[in-house]
Amino acid sequence: MRYALLMHYREPAEGEISEEAIAEAREAFGAYGRALEQAGVLLSADVLQPTAATTTVTRRDGVLRVQDGPFAETKEALAGVFVLDVPDLDAAIGWAEKCPGVQWGVIEVRPTATAFVDGRWTR
């Protein structure tokens, strides 16, 4: 069963985090990614750029709107997405516990409803 681990945390201001801390986090995420891959559960892993780089697109009101900035201004922003294939929620929670982002943010564990695989949406 597929689960998305959604990392949320407050976006640090420019220069708020030291170079060493960034290097440490990069190291931790490297080890985490390798562990996921070696366990054979990793489908994809993306750590996102800050919301300052976000563009929002909608035609919800009938008019195409392309906007600078995130859909909603929140204190904590979506910062990364890991998609895993694991047997059950306990396994997904187990991986979320080991995610480096859990140290400074929140990981939302969300089961996938359907995914586009091999030319069709799965059930």
Binding site: D88, L89, D90, A91, I93, R123
Partner: protein, 451 residues
Amino acid sequence: MDALTSEEDRWVAGPGPDATGPAAHAAGPAADAAALAADAAALAADAAGLAARDSYGRLLALLSASTSDLVSAEDALADAFERALRTWPAQGVPGKPDAWLLTVARNRLRDHWKSAQAQRVLPLDAGQDAPADMGDVDADAIPDRRLELLLVCAHPAIERAVHTPLMLNTVLGFTAEQVGRAFSVPTSTMATRLVRAKKRIKAARIPFRIPDRGDLPARMTAVLEAVYGAYVIDWAATGPQARQLPSEALHLAEVLARLAPDDPEAHGLAAVVQLSAARAPARVDPDGRFVPLADQDPSLWDPRLIDRAHEHLRAAHARGQLGRFQLEAAIQAVHCARRQAGMTDWPTLLTLHRLLHAIAPSLGSGVALAAVTAEVQGPAAGLATLDALLQDGGQHARRFQPARATRAHLLDQLGRSEEAVAAYDSAIDLTHDTAERQYLQHRRDRANRCR
């Protein structure tokens, strides 16, 4: 001592006045199934309602374990019981009723999957399509997955407040109405909560599995607390009403001890529940007045339940690993020993309460410790212990009814009548239970006359 006893005594609900058999209420498929389960079992082998509840929980756990889909399993099981009611009277009861029910319910589930698959226009799996006949099931080999079901009900991904209702509903087959009444929640609200939790279990795929040894202790603690929650009402959260649960609910702790025989705390919990339930007949006098533990007539206590509790205590102590529930049970056992000894062993109680307050500190254990300290070392020492607790506990502690009631009793014993009357008044303000409120008013009036 009265406040302690009034507190701990009413923490455990005996059979409520509204206690009804499983067939009396129906709300939803689980309800129907439980009702039918009882009927079917009665038809089958004149089996007691408990056996029917055991069958219900076992079959439901088994049917939902592979898919985490409790709702479909409940529907399939309800269908199976319905078919049993239609066919058994005419064709006779099968030799292995549980195996029969399991096979019929499994076939129902298979039909359900097939139709769901057909809608998605996917090829049918030949293996899944194959008919299952009665020969597939060996009744003696029907595995018991109720511990896994209990662990699912108390899973950290399930809201804490739903743990206990979910257990009563799935493991024992109590209806949403019965569970709702026990938790003072309208039936429809309780039904919605139960369905939401079940949908969540399926959608997130919460596994029916015993966690590995690293996670097991924490997960078992949640299970123990949820089972305890069937009998105990958290004062601070809901006010002190006794749970109006049918007496068969006592069975939940027994089931857990049987499913986890190596867990000393599971035995400790079963013993606590049974020792408290044993005193239920003595808790209210013929006029409906509350009787504190110290004034209860031990000949009214249920010796059968006390004996059973001692079996659990022996099983727990054989493991040589002390825990909160074992200590609570030991405390209850010392109180119940008054039945034989004719007197209460206060020094032993003081030792036990100190241990309990050290390993599982809570407001309740602190107030109890103060009350027992008063018995052994005098009311002044008890009051000092209690006031220290109130000092540290802040607002929450000062709103704790047992703390106020105990304080009133201790002031009364010290002859500080003026303060005692004020303390009784403040305790009465927080007392929701009619019988206990009358008791406190009576004590206040007596103190008032001494002024």
